[in-house]
């Protein structure tokens, strides 16, 4: 397995190199350079423009600039944003990346769980009206025009029903008098979620020896108790209202992100499940007289998990790109919105930095999923 992992990591690094090269080529293929901005300005003479070019290193040969570009990328020097002058691009990325990550991870988890269980049912009830109906809904959700869907959701929940805020990260009126800033509260929220995940994992692995029914009881009670305790602690603290406000702003983007992504898993799961349902062990399980539910969940669906997980890995870059659209529609200040606003305001360093980040995120998510896959698949584990 170590050989497999090392191979994958080397491949990821190679891909990153190609990605950065692509970015450099895109940038370098532009006609002219930054000094063209001053062409119509009589105060900036030709000599001054030459001076700017020399200062920025634009007069050097392309190969030298390419090496410089790679060096800057590795050392994290992504330049200074035009739009958010004088903050550096790296600073903005560090502030906004967690917001994208939280949205992306939560949505992916929910979407995968929902898609997996629905796909299982689709295959099981093949040929019924339920299957055709749900497939139709699934395909429409999968290919739905995300900006339009987001706007419709805003119109329905934000404007007509007034249940949820129409967008943005927080409500400025509520935060005007608060003593802490948004990143502080958001950091605490993420920490809570992290502790909770670790706790659930610990419970999951420590109850493995128990029988199925006891295990279910232990899981649900401990998850409920710990979740309740976390909510209580937050509600009693003086920043509980602020955190609630932040969470309320998160509901709509999360909903749209999840709805758009669950169908992909569902449709793949259906096809994979159809294949595993024909295997001999499923017939054997039936012949043993096991209840249909057990045959479906433990024998057929369990074996369909791996191919579906592979499909999830492949769809990660697409899901991250799709996040750009969702974030923009809901003005969620993550990397996607940053990329689009940078692009629309011709803030080239910021756009390149955001694109670099999204590329790195896609590659890292790919790697993490790959590692998880190598743990799940015994054929790789025992190689």
């Amino acid at each position: 397995m170590r050989k497999y992992l090392v191979g994958r990591i080397l491949q990821i690094i190679f891909t990153l190199l190609i990605f950065q090269t692509l970015l450099f080529v895109i940038l370098d293929a532009q006609p002219g350079d930054i000094t063209m901005q001053f062409l119509a300005n009589p105060k900036v003479s030709a000599e001054a423009r030459e001076q700017i070019r020399a200062n920025l290193g634009l007069d050097k040969p392309p190969l030298e600039r390419y090496v410089q570009w790679l060096k800057n990328f590795i050392t994290g020097n992504l330049g200074t944003s035009f739009e958010h002058w004088p903050r550096s691009v790296m600073d903005i990325i560090l502030e906004r990346a967690p917001r994208t990550l939280v949205l992306f991870l939560t949505a992916q988890l929910i979407a995968f769980a929902v898609g997996f269980s629905l796909g299982k049912l689709l295959a099981w009830w093949r040929g019924t009206v339920f299957e055709y109906g749900l497939t139709l809904i699934g395909v429409v959700m999968f290919t739905i025009f995300t900006p339009w869907f987001g706007l419709m959701m805003i119109w329905l929940f934000g404007y007509r029903l007034k249940w949820l805020p129409v967008g943005k990260f927080l409500d400025p009126l509520l935060w005007r008098t608060s003593s802490v800033d948004a990143n502080y509260v958001f950091g605490r929220l993420m920490l809570t979620a992290l502790i909770y995940t670790v706790f659930v994992l610990v419970v999951f692995f420590s109850t493995r020896k128990l029988s199925a029914s006891w295990r279910r009881v232990a899981m649900w009670t401990s998850m409920g108790a710990f979740g309740g305790a976390a909510v209580l602690v937050w509600a009693l603290s003086d920043i509980g209202v602020l955190a609630g406000d932040m969470l309320k702003h998160m509901v709509l983007p999360l909903l749209v992100y999840t709805v758009v992504n669950f169908a992909g898993t569902m449709l793949v799961m259906r096809n994979t499940m159809l294949e595993t349902m024909r295997e001999d062990y499923v017939m054997a399980a039936r012949a043993k007289g096991l209840p249909e539910r057990v045959v479906r969940d433990r024998h057929a669906a369990r074996n369909a998990f791996l191919p579906v997980f592979t499909a999830l890995i492949i769809s990660i870059p697409f899901a991250i790109s799709g996040g750009i659209i969702t974030e923009t529609i809901f003005s969620w200040p993550g990397m996607g919105l940053t990329l689009l606003s940078a692009v629309q305001n011709e803030d080239i360093p910021m756009a390149m930095g955001a694109l670099s980040f999204i590329g790195v995120l896609a590659l890292l998510a790919h790697l993490v999923a790959d590692v998880a896959y190598s743990f799940l698949d015994p054929r790789i584990r025992y190689q």
Binding site: Q11, I12, F14, T15, I18, F19, L22, I26, L27, Q30, R126, G127, Y132, T135, L136, V139, V140, F142, T143, I144, F145, T146, P147, W148, F149, L151, M152, I154, W155, Y159, V166, L267, N271, L274, E275, R278, I314, P317, F318, I320, S321, G322, I324, I325, T328, G336, L339, L340, V343, Q344, E346, A351, M352, A354, L355, I358, G359, A362, L363, H366
Partner: protein, 318 residues
Amino acid sequence: MADAMTIQRTPVAEPLWRIRLRLAGKSFANSWQLFRENPIGLIGLGIIVLFGLLSLAHPILMATVWDARTYDPIIGYDAAILSHPSPPSARHLLGTDPIGRDVLSQLMYSARWEFGLGLLAATVSVVLSTTVGAVAAYFGGLVDTIFMRIADVMTMLPFIAILVVLSALFDFQLIHLALVYGILVGFGGQTIVIKSQALTIKVKPYIDAARVAGGGDWHIIFTHMFPNLMPLAFLYMMITVTGAVFIEAALSFFGLLNIRMSWGIMINTAQASGYLLAGPGYLHLMIPAGLAITLFCSAFYLVGRALDEVVNPRLRRR
């Protein structure tokens, strides 16, 4: 390849092309039978035909019933109505947009371009992926390694983000988008699937037979492997159309493409003029275009899924 073509063929009563045509017809009828069993695919096909009729009807309507000055999708203006946008009426079935253009006319006009975009992108990507896949599977070795590594890299790139930056930096028109998307997809994940299919074809007896009969490498690839890759390639064409139209709509919604009219631009216009939250009277600005994009993408995807059940024997019911 030239050697292979000059080989004397055994004379048969029927000309060869007629036999081929008959065989093709037979296999088409067979596939159609399988395709027809699935209502999902038929729904998709129905929607595609509907959009096809809409885009065909537009030039006819413009030439006969609709006055060009009032109903032109880009520069039309209806001076007979006092305030725009106007709600749906007998004169404008889907109403007019904020600058007085007929929404139905825009919708029908755009359908034609979406078809063009989708077909161009799909053709580019399928020609690339089939050629690369077949060549990589047939020759193996270094060629295979290089193309498969490229495909691995391509599947890991975030397309939409790259296209957003590309369209912002360069003057992107519909044809450029179709070409770039086709190339990105064609060298990417599609190639891997088509190559694995080509690998199973490569070991079939008829390939050996063709080689024994003196067929060259390229002759075998183009006349014996290609036809057998076609069904799978056709399936991927459908999915590429979905992706291309979706990305075009998203990019033109953000105003990054240099095109005059499309479904994405229609939504962009409605949102940019502030009619998003203006109430139920203005929903005709948002609903038709958004629904058109969604239905168009869904239809091609549905047909692709139904084809999957035809092409992939493991998914068949029998």
